[in-house]
Amino acid sequence: MTREMTHDGPDADHRLDGMAQGVLGRGEPRPEGALKVTGRAVYTGDQQAPGMVHGALVRATITRGRVTTLNSATVLEMPGVLAVIDDPRLVRFSGQGATTKPPKADAAGVVYHGQPIALVVAETLEQARHAALRLTVDYAEEPGAVTGPEDPAAEVELPQKKQSETGAPDAALEAADTVIDRIYRTASMSSAPMEPHASLAEWQGGKLVLHSTLQMLASAQGQVAAALGIEPEDIRILAPHVGGGFGSKLGISPETVAAAIAAQQMRRPVSVVCTRPQSMETTSRRSETLQRIQMGADDEGRLTMIGHEALVSNLPGQKFSEPVQQATHFTYEAAHRRVVHRVARVHRLVAASVRAPGEAVGATAFECAMDELADKLGLCPVALRLRNIPKVEPGTGRPFSSHKLAEALTEGARRFGWEHRHASPRARREGEWWIGMGMSSLVRVNTVMEAKARVSLSLDGTALVETDMTDIGTGSYAILSQIAAEMLGLPMGSVETVLGDTDLPASSGSGGSFGAASTGSAVYLACLELRSRLAEAMGCPEPELTLKDGHAIHDNRKVPLSTLMGGAAMQAEGHLIPGEAEDKARQATWGAAFAEVGVNAITGEIRVRRMLGTFAIGRVLNAQTARSQALGGMIWGIGMALTEELVHDARDGHIVNRDLAEYHVPVNADVPALEVHFLEERDDWAPMQAKGIGELGICGAGAAIVNAVHNACGVRVRSLPMTVDKVLAGLVEAEADQG
């Protein structure tokens, strides 16, 4: 039996609040945690298969053109080398998420420097890697490579759907009492999960069994099928543990397809584990952005005009473009608005979703501009934001599903001690360090995806949750178990959750902060179905049935579940279908970030001293894993603000710093004590009243740091990351101004 729900509107029932077990929302430890801390959790690259051989990708060393010859003969003579594969089905970069459309094939056609063009297969890893480095390649280069979005030769497209204008923005700006018109830049960035992209492919009687580092298995199955020209049913993908993804594992990657083709050709299992440079260079990246933000405000600080123009980049023909202005439409009120979105066609690694595509960079830049406006108006930055919160969605007039920005701002300010901030920069100094505070709003659109899950109840009083959902560190194992435990009245230890296998019901997968609410709802629905059957056996309406500690309770009657089950295990599926709810109301998560930083007055070095985030995400499913997600998001904000930049060589577009020594993700010493506070909330428009938390932290947190740096030392850096060279230039300039 399947319990379906189409998500068409609000649900004020809040059934989960009426359950008796009391495990949902609690900071339950991760059920798979003991495996992870003891090294027993098996990831893709840990898999071995009898007879397994190794593949190593070969990299293009031109920016644009065609491979004419792979000089395979010499490497085929090298010890252990089995094959050089240049199958036309090999793909050029990673696929996008939530689509069964595979990434572009024909890897011999080179569209960016570093693109994989072939796979060398050998008996051992050492042999394969060596041969791949030694393979020489002849190319027919094509002129006209465009290596950067601001190259005048770049073709620029304006996708119609992403442009909008309301009122008379130019006139409004002209008439405004106070105006901000600034250019901000954010850098190209890498997801850089700790686990490199990897696949192990094995063909078992015409069926492909694929262990792969993927976030969304069902759509990836479709991508692999289309890439190879086989049926999805003939592919099984396994990913019970994924070592982080952050968007880079939403779609399949070149090594996925290469492993599958090689295994078919070799008739042996083939493992392809990307090297760290390959993991950064052949998958996907976040586009750099150039953003022009215009604001007009009256004397009281009410926005009259909002303008947000963005230039992003992607390869020719790619539909994805970093949705920079996604939240600009509804975050603040203003009668006159304009959004312009340009995509430059460049020959760089494909751009795709990286943690919070859109708001991560868009809200960050916008929140920097808000700080500049507050400064100009002589207004407290928190007050400026409070003054501009819309009551309904600007432009559409839709209601907000829930809206806690005001509370997030005021509660955050109170907890952080915002009142101790000096309004003017350069007011607080400790030795060589300027100290300052900054803040920003946090906003992220919220969405659900179709998801299925199966829940089985056994006579021994245990439950099994099964879905192809992944746990990429997000806490899926914990929260899905908790939902089932809560709904079925079982202790956490009596629920097992099995994930990461396409033979199981297709979930939403992990991405876009939609995993917990979407797949969680599928589990919830399956449990609701089981509850109905138990209630029937109990002879009571389902809403009146209390389930707790393995017993059903109603009307002073308490019965073990097994008694109600009629001697047979029970099973149900839940199926969540996105419906009209998303169109009827504007759904988003809200929060605020506050930061205190030190800026070294001599060197321009920045140290984040403390940071606090308030988060309104609807129902919190697991207080501990939600907090960890919030922390992670905020720390990504630190990385975006201070250290992370994927550098492309201006001459050929290749990624210069394609490793973890030179692509600087924050290290432990960069991160101070952080505080996270969740606002109690139920969002009726969200199934289970729960929304996503994986991305909200990064959607503005970097701006709190940028703004704090200004408050500390008076330097505005409008190009992220704020490395010492940029801060230093500002310090030197400020000193010169002061004579």
């Binding site: 900071g27 430890p29 991760r30 798979e32 945690g33 003991a34 495996l35 992870k36 801390v37 003891t38 090294g39 027993r40 959790a41 098996v42 990831y43 690259g45 840990d46 071995q48 890893l125 050492e126 042999q127 060596h130 850089a192 999960p193 700790m194 686990e195 490199p196 543990h241 994924v242 070592g243 982080g244 952050f246 584990v273 090297t275 760290r276 746990d471 990429i472 560190g473 997000t474 806490g475 501990q624 894993t625 907090r627 960890s628 997600q629 922390l631 992670g632 720390i635 990504w636 490793d659 973890l660 020594a661 993700v665 924050p666 290290v667 432990n668 010493a669 991160v671 004590a673 952080l674």
Partner: protein
């Protein structure tokens, strides 16, 4: 080449290509895949193991150079049924998310606490001759060779402080 490694008190006699790193020997030849490969170039710390009691990046070491050495990996520190104090502390504070860097973090922390106990100073130590203490700042600095992209850093520091405090209590 023939190499004998004692990994977690068990002798492994392995026949290896001299190019095989200690990391690959542990993972692919001894079959202990708890130790992870994150970058293979000493830039992330996921491969951290202890050799003769000291933490090192096993990716930047040849297995043949460790003939006869005693290696401790994450599997040797504890089991799901019998967690080491640090493993239990990581679980308690949610000192990880995806778990991929975690074995390296825990091996690193295990040896790092011994370095503190031995009085080794760090970059953030006020003086070079003062007692080394497991403060937040000291732990953060000493653990900076272990990247965590999920960014569980505050919880990692909390876990290590917890385990260090428990050890103090026990001592």
């Amino acid at each position: 080449m023939h190499v004998t490694l004692t990994i977690n008190d068990t002798k492994h006699s392995l026949d290896l290509d001299p190019r095989t790193t200690l990391l690959d020997a542990i993972r692919s030849h001894a079959g202990l895949t708890g130790t992870k490969k994150g970058c293979d170039h000493g830039q992330c710390g996921a491969c951290t193991v202890m050799v003769n009691g000291r933490r090192i990046n096993s990716c930047l070491s040849l297995a043949v150079m460790h003939d006869g050495d005693a290696v401790t990996t994450i599997e040797g520190l504890g089991t799901p049924e019998a967690l080491s104090p640090l493993q239990a502390a990581f679980l308690e504070t949610d000192g990880f998310q995806c778990g991929y860097c975690t074995p390296g973090q825990i091996c690193s922390a295990t040896a790092m606490l011994e370095e503190i106990r031995a009085g080794w100073p760090s970059h953030v130590s006020e003086t070079l001759d003062g007692p080394a203490l497991p403060t937040e700042a000291e732990i953060a600095e000493r653990m900076s060779g272990n990247l965590c992209r999920c960014s569980a850093y505050p919880n990692i520091v909390a876990a290590i402080r917890l385990a260090a405090a428990e050890r103090e209590d026990a001592a």
